[in-house]
């Protein structure tokens, strides 16, 4: 069976919907976006992820037309957007605060954009009803925004921004105000709606879990630059830098000097400790500074010395975090490094074999971690 993989960014014949060309945005002395070039394709669910102040919101506001680039160009569907005001763009935005009009009912909020187009009354009514059904709000059409719950408000905001069937929908931290359970449900709802409508979504978030769940590609940003753009799996399993590895999920970083040996690279990291063997496609010079990054769930922990592990280190348990589905062990090595190892709690109420202060072995294969230059 052949399965179609959605990856227009790998297809050189595909025309991007959005193109950033050497875009820089300065606010006074502060550079919010620094010479950024990036393509986003049609039907993508593109996530801009980064800490606050990294420029992700500025990028989104430039797409909506609320900010103009200081230099460089932005193209949407091949058209230069420099002189096009927000009300003339086939782009809609869902605001972080939802920005629902408090003096209008749910129905009128959704119809607002359609009315501005001067469409026929019946067409507007049909479209609003369709949006209400899509977001399961039909019952609340007559209510005012302050008469509905936070989750419902969020859906009104989504319905309103989708009503005009924009080419591009911008979502600014759309789920920030919802509690965790509702947020997870809504993430799947968003993906479902994105698939149904075929709209290109660009989402801004600081929540890495959210970005990983919804996005087809994630751009990790820092200080006005995009550090890495890749699918969620690639970002997680093959980060291109310590910054990305550290920003997404939990990670152990061991820094040392490279010693290439055939197809393997050995990291010499501490006196009297066995070198760490890793696999990489990147060339490293002997003696070059190198960072070995490994996710906690790829580190095994045992009380007895493992027989056939490529890497094994001895330490003692410093701390145990029991999270229900998993447990994280913080293992202190004789060098003072603390390595996190995670195990899934697959059995109920099993007697815990490992406890505080226990001497343990941690081990991992030679392909479990990644070797990073910076």
């Amino acid at each position: 069976m052949t399965q179609h993989v959605f990856a227009p960014w790998n297809d050189p014949g595909e025309k991007p919907l959005i193109q950033f060309r050497n875009v820089t945005k300065r606010f006074g002395d502060f550079t919010a976006i620094d010479d950024l070039t990036q393509d986003i394709y049609e039907k993508e669910f593109f996530a801009l992820l980064g800490p606050s102040g990294c420029g992700k919101t500025t990028m989104m506001r430039m797409l909506a037309g609320f900010e103009r680039p200081s230099s460089g160009q932005i193209f949407i569907a091949g058209q230069d957007m420099a002189r096009i005001p927000p009300n003339k763009r086939a782009v809609n935005m869902m605001f972080q605060s939802y920005a629902l009009f408090p003096h209008l009912s749910v129905w009128d909020n959704i119809a607002f954009g359609l009315k501005r187009e001067g469409k026929d009354k019946d067409i507007i009514a049909a479209r609003v009803e369709e949006m209400l059904r899509l977001t399961r709000l039909t019952k609340f059409a007559k209510r005012k925004p302050h008469q509905i719950s936070g989750g419902q408000r969020q859906r009104v905001a989504l319905a309103r921004s989708l009503a005009k069937a924009p080419k591009l929908l911008l979502l600014d931290e759309p789920l920030g105000a919802l509690d965790k359970k509702l947020r997870q449900d809504t993430q799947f709802e968003l993906m479902d709606i994105q698939e149904k409508t075929g709209t290109t979504f660009v989402i801004v978030t600081h929540d890495q879990e959210e970005a990983m769940t919804v996005a087809s590609r994630v751009a990790v940003m820092d200080e006005g630059r995009i550090i890495q753009v890749a699918t969620p799996a690639q970002i997680y399993e093959a980060p291109n830098s310590v910054y990305v590895a550290d920003f997404i999920g939990d990670v152990n970083i061991i820094s040392g000097r490279a010693k290439p040996t055939g197809d393997k690279v050995v990291t010499q990291w501490a006196e009297g400790q066995p070198d760490i063997i890793g696999t990489t496609t990147t060339e490293f010079d002997p003696g070059q500074e190198i960072h070995f990054a490994i996710r906690p769930e790829k580190v095994a922990i045992s009380t007895e010395e493992p027989q056939d592990a490529a890497n094994k280190l001895q330490g003692k348990v410093l701390d145990i975090a029991y999270l229900g589905n998993i447990s994280t062990y913080h293992v202190e090595l004789p060098t003072g490094h603390v390595i996190k190892a995670q195990t899934a709690n697959t059995r109920r109420l099993s007697r815990r074999q490992i406890t505080w202060e226990d001497p343990v072995w941690i081990s991992f294969t030679d392909t479990a971690g990644v070797l990073l230059e910076r």
């Binding site: 927000p86 009300n87 605001f95 920005a99 302050h146 008469q147």
Partner: protein, 272 residues
């Protein structure tokens, strides 16, 4: 509940007595049958009847209302526009100077405002009358409107306007369809403030008026110089009544709106 001590009771009585005894005396004497203001001669409403037959007072009242309605309406439009620009236009050069200049007339002595307006009207050869009072009142009440409206605009979520633009509104439509309906209560209270200020202004009106236009405060002031008549007491009582009814109505309306809002929000929290 905290105890209502004798100290609290005394303080409260003294304070309110200080505020209201003069007005209470005025109201009581307006029902005095005697023509002598300070001698009580039994209850009577005759001065109210005489007041209604007094053409001069009725004319002055009509002029005052015309001036107040017109000037407060113009002041509301101009003041709202000024507030909008000062709050929204961001940091253009001279913004601090402009906002300072908008508020300066608030603390300017009325005598100076009145005198400078008088000089201006003489200078440009404008005949003094209703028009000049309207212009003068617009000038000084506009800054009050702009203070009230800009304090509302500061707390206004700007993303609402951005959302309107995003959904296809021109900047003017965004103001007309989103901003204005939301800040309407502030605009209305700005209008009421301007109206009240115009209603009871004496100083600026006397500088800028001409022989053809006499407002009620001017009329009362000039009548009192010839001696306080029971008619003036009656007129003042009516004004107190109008103001009281207005204030009570306004606060009731505001309170009810707040209660409705709170009830609606409670209902929203209930699972649907």
């Amino acid at each position: 509940m905290r105890q209502f001590s004798w100290f609290n009771a005394t303080a409260l009585t003294l304070g309110f007595a200080f505020l209201y005894i003069p007005m209470i005396i005025l109201v009581i004497y307006s029902f005095n049958a005697s023509k002598l203001v300070t001698v009580w001669a039994g209850f009577s409403t005759q001065w109210y009847g005489e007041l209604l037959r007094n053409e001069e007072f009725l004319n002055a009242a009509w002029v005052t209302i015309k001036v107040a309605v017109t000037s407060s309406t113009i002041a509301t439009v101009l003041g709202t526009m000024a507030a909008y620009v000062l709050v929204r236009a961001g940091r253009f050069s001279g913004r601090t100077l402009f906002s300072g200049m908008i508020y300066a007339p608030l603390v300017m002595p009325e005598v100076i405002t009145g005198l400078s307006l008088l000089l201006l009207f003489i200078g440009i050869g404008l005949d003094r009358g209703v028009l000049t009072i309207v212009l003068a009142h617009t000038t000084f009440s506009m800054c009050y409107v702009s203070v009230v409206v800009s304090s509302r605009l500061v707390s206004f979520d700007q993303s609402l306007e951005e959302a309107a633009l995003d959904l296809g509104c021109s900047p003017f439509d965004a103001f007309r369809l989103v901003t204005l309906p939301i800040i309407a209560p502030a605009v209305i209270s700005g209008w009421l403030l301007a109206f009240t200020l115009s209603l009871d202004d004496l100083v600026i009106a006397s500088f800028t008026t001409g022989p053809s236009a006499t407002t009620l405060p001017i009329k009362i002031f000039s009548a009192v110089r010839l001696g306080v008549s029971p008619e003036i007491n009656a007129l003042s009582t009516i004004m107190i009544a109008i103001v009281t009814i207005g204030v009570i109505t306004a606060s009731l309306v505001t309170k009810q709106a707040a209660m409705r809002q709170a009830r609606d929000e409670r209902m929203a929290e209930r699972p649907a």
